[in-house]
């Protein structure tokens, strides 16, 4: 066809110039020859002289033996002599038998591998999360700083009727050991008459101990203990009177004295904060 096209001249575009063959459905075409950009020097000592070996396209067939001082020596024959080593030592139990199909156990083997992978993944994620949070939380307040936020008070140091003041979180903390008379007096107060209605028992855990933050709820002065008209506290700045439970009775303060979070440890100790 090519020669016809060449001779056709002006008719060339109209003459079918299909120079390539159409592959048949079953006969594969020989692959096109590889294009080598550089010349391979002719090696006349090559044991097998054929087109492929001269152009360097043949696998090095034939016996090839090599020996050296510091590299492994080897003998390579044709590809037929290559045998896959026996990997029985590494095989799982299900696929040890060379005459049993490996398809049957395929699902269980895969399942086991995927299960191990998933479990390891979960475990790793858990560990990683813990490590990361540990490192990041090391940037937050340290233990000694956190310790400053609590105070431990020995209750046996406070006699009955006495109010002791401590410094806690930069604020005064009042711990008052109340007498029975004070307790019953405060219990008897009519709650509905109070500006900030709260029953006494709602403000204490043990009635003989009342623990308050000693900051006036009006404008922040420190009230004086055992002063005022109600047997409790009196704030000298603007004249707020608090009772023995720390509730506001008279004066400009709007709310009762704050009751902090505290906990009795044993009989003798209270931890505030």
């Amino acid at each position: 066809m090519l020669s016809v096209a060449a001779r056709a001249g002006p008719f060339a575009p109209f003459v079918s110039a299909a120079a390539h063959a159409v592959p048949g459905p079953l006969r594969p075409l020989a692959p096109a020859a590889a294009h080598r950009d550089h010349k391979v020097p002719l090696d006349v000592k090559r044991p097998l002289l054929c087109r492929e070996s001269l152009s360097g396209r043949a696998a090095r067939g034939g016996l090839v033996a090599s020996a050296s001082l510091n590299a492994p020596a080897g003998v390579r024959c044709v590809h037929n002599d290559v045998t896959v080593p026996d990997f029985s030592a590494y095989r799982r139990q299900d696929v040890q038998d060379a005459s049993a199909s490996s398809q049957g156990s395929s699902n269980s083997r895969k399942g086991f591998s995927y299960l191990m992978t998933a479990a390891t993944g979960v475990a790793t994620a858990y560990v990683a999360k813990n490590v990361v949070t540990q490192f990041i939380s090391s940037l937050s307040a340290s233990a000694d700083v956190l310790a400053l936020s609590k105070i431990e008070i020995k209750l046996s140091d406070i006699p009955e009727g006495k109010n002791m003041a401590f410094k806690w979180r930069g604020k005064p903390l009042f711990v008052r050991h109340r007498t029975q008379a004070e307790i019953s007096q405060e219990a008897g107060v009519d709650v509905s008459q109070l500006r900030d209605p709260q029953h006494d028992l709602d403000r204490v855990k043990k009635p003989e101990w009342v623990i308050l933050v000693g900051v006036c709820t009006h404008l922040g002065c420190v009230p004086i203990a055992n002063a005022g008209d109600f047997g409790g506290y009196y704030c000298p700045c603007h004249g707020s009177h608090y009772d023995a439970s720390g509730r506001i009775r008279k004066g400009p303060a709007p709310l009762n004295l704050e009751v902090p979070v505290y906990q009795f440890i044993g009989d003798d100790t209270v931890v505030v904060g």
Binding site: A8, G9, P10, F11, P13, F14, V15, S16, A18, H20, A21, V22, P23, G24, P25, L26, P28, L29, P31, A32, A34, R36, L48, C50, E52, S53, G56, R57, A58, A59, R60, G61, G62, C77, V78, H79, N80, D81, V82, T83, V84, D86, F87, S88, V95, D97, A98, S99, A100, S101, S102, Q103, S106, K110
Partner: protein
């Protein structure tokens, strides 16, 4: 101006060159009335294959088709799969020795007699079957049957010939070593079926070729060339009755019956997902074959897998389609210059098979080609479309029918079908099975064999860019719901 007039003149003349003189009107009506037989009619009109089993177990099968020539052959259930490590190569050696004379016709007398008939003698050995066939004139059929029986039963196995053949076979092994595609497939079998007899190459190892003796070959023939494992197939202008008579005359001899209990059975061959890499950066092109375990011959899934292969398509650089090809993978290969050629394959054995693809590419395109090919597999498993299945079915029907051109092809078809399926499957049945395939079936069957399965990989040449096995194994599934 002048050029344009020349072109115009050229066009008129060109048309004439292309189409030739117009046929006369009368002739035209004649051709129109004749009409062509439909495809279905043609399939139905193919003569039936007649099968007769002789007393000693030999199956005789033939398809008569009124032709002056015929092909008669023996297909034997013997091959490298039946050998063990010590006898690997016996089948191939036997094939060489078979043409070197028999007891009745020693030396070159056998070949001379074949040639005096004007006949063609040929044979091949594969992993599971051995075949010897003669193409001759139909009238010579009885003589041909006698020659075949002589070849199989009375092989001379002369010691001098055996020694001479050793050198010839070793030389042939060296030459086969340069056919890298075959080397890749041999490596693929060696790794996929490691530890089993399917890992053996057909030709055998050099050590065995040097070591095999007359006794080994004789015992191989004695065990395997027996009537119950042979099929005498014929196609062409022969009559089945005459063929059976000739077979009865020449094939009922003592050498053809098994001695007592020595019927060899095939053990199942385990498939191992694994890889073998023969890296050689001095070679210009990389040959890579990837396969999963497929079904055996008799499994109906084979039809669907062949349709799937037709969807994948083939390609090599001489294809003229460029980027306009029906195979998606081929279009990608052209657009991004991924490979020199690729082809899918579905090799079946009696109880297992290899379903995969093989490609040849430049050293720097290996990774991309593998990625695209595996992507195509995944696409087949998940989103095959009806239109491409229809196209593939038509292609497959075409290929099946076109394959049977000539008595030799038909004869081989008969022989191998009887060995693999126990019967000749007619084209009508193939057509029906192919028609029954739809996109959903392709997706299901492909997922069954491909999706998340461990493949076997063989790579020869400059394969540095081929990723490690774990990455390729990860390409066998998609992370999706």
């Amino acid at each position: 101006m002048a050029a344009r007039s020349v072109c115009r003149a050229g066009s008129a003349a060109g048309r004439a060159l292309l189409w030739g003189p117009r046929p006369a009107a009368a002739l035209l009506t004649l051709t129109r009335k004749r009409g062509a037989a439909t495809y279905a009619q043609t399939l139905q009109n193919i003569p039936e294959t007649q099968v007769t089993t002789l007393e000693n177990g030999l199956r005789v099968a033939s398809e008569e088709s009124n032709q002056p020539t015929c092909t008669v052959g023996l297909w034997i259930e013997a091959g490298s799969r039946y050998e063990d490590t010590k006898t690997n190569g016996a089948a191939f050696f036997m094939e060489h020795m078979a043409f070197k004379g028999t007891k009745k016709r020693p030396g070159s007398a056998f070949e001379k007699e074949v040639e005096s008939l004007g006949a063609h003698l040929n044979g091949y050995t594969s992993r599971e079957q051995t075949a010897f066939y003669i193409k001759a004139l139909s009238k010579d059929m009885p003589k041909v049957v006698e020659l075949l029986s002589d070849l199989v039963q009375n092989c001379a196995l002369e010691d001098s010939q055996i020694e001479k053949e050793r050198g010839v076979i070793l030389q042939e092994l060296k030459e086969l070593d340069s056919n890298l595609a075959d080397v890749t497939f041999d490596y693929l079998h060696a790794t996929a079926y490691q530890g089993t007899s399917l890992a053996h190459t057909v030709e055998g190892t050099t050590e065995n070729i040097k070591r095999l003796t007359r006794a080994d070959l004789a015992s191989y023939v004695d065990i395997h060339f027996k009537a119950p494992r042979m099929v005498l197939a014929a196609a062409g202008g022969i009559s089945h009755r005459e063929l059976v008579d000739a077979a009865k005359q020449h094939f009922t001899g003592a050498p053809l019956t098994h001695k007592g209990d020595s019927v060899p059975t095939l053990k199942h061959c385990r498939f191992t997902g694994s890889e073998i890499r023969a890296r050689d950066d001095a070679l210009p092109l990389a040959h890579i074959a990837l396969a999963v375990e497929g079904p055996g011959w008799a499994d109906p899934d084979n039809v669907v897998l062949n349709v799937a292969n037709a969807i994948i398509g083939r390609y090599d650089r001489t294809f003229g389609g460029g980027t306009n090809q029906s195979s998606k993978l081929a279009t990608l290969a052209v657009k991004h210059n991924l490979c020199h050629s690729f082809e899918p394959f579905n090799t079946s054995y009696s109880d297992t098979g290899l379903f995969g693809f093989h490609f040849v590419s430049d050293p720097l395109s290996v990774d991309d080609m593998m990625f695209c090919a595996q992507g195509e597999w995944m696409r087949l498993c998940t989103s095959t479309t009806e239109s491409e299945v229809t196209r593939a079915k038509n292609y497959l029907r075409n290929a099946m029918v076109a394959q049977l051109d000539g008595t030799t092809r038909v004869c081989e078809n008969i022989g191998s079908h009887l060995l693999h399926y126990g019967r000749r499957i007619p084209l009508e049945e193939w057509d029906a099975r192919i028609s029954a395939v739809d996109a959903r079936m392709v997706r299901d069957v492909c997922s069954k064999y491909i999706y998340d399965k461990c493949p076997a990989l063989a790579a020869v040449g400059p394969v540095e860019q081929l990723l490690d096995y774990n990455r390729i194994r990860s390409g066998m599934y998609w992370v999706r719901l």
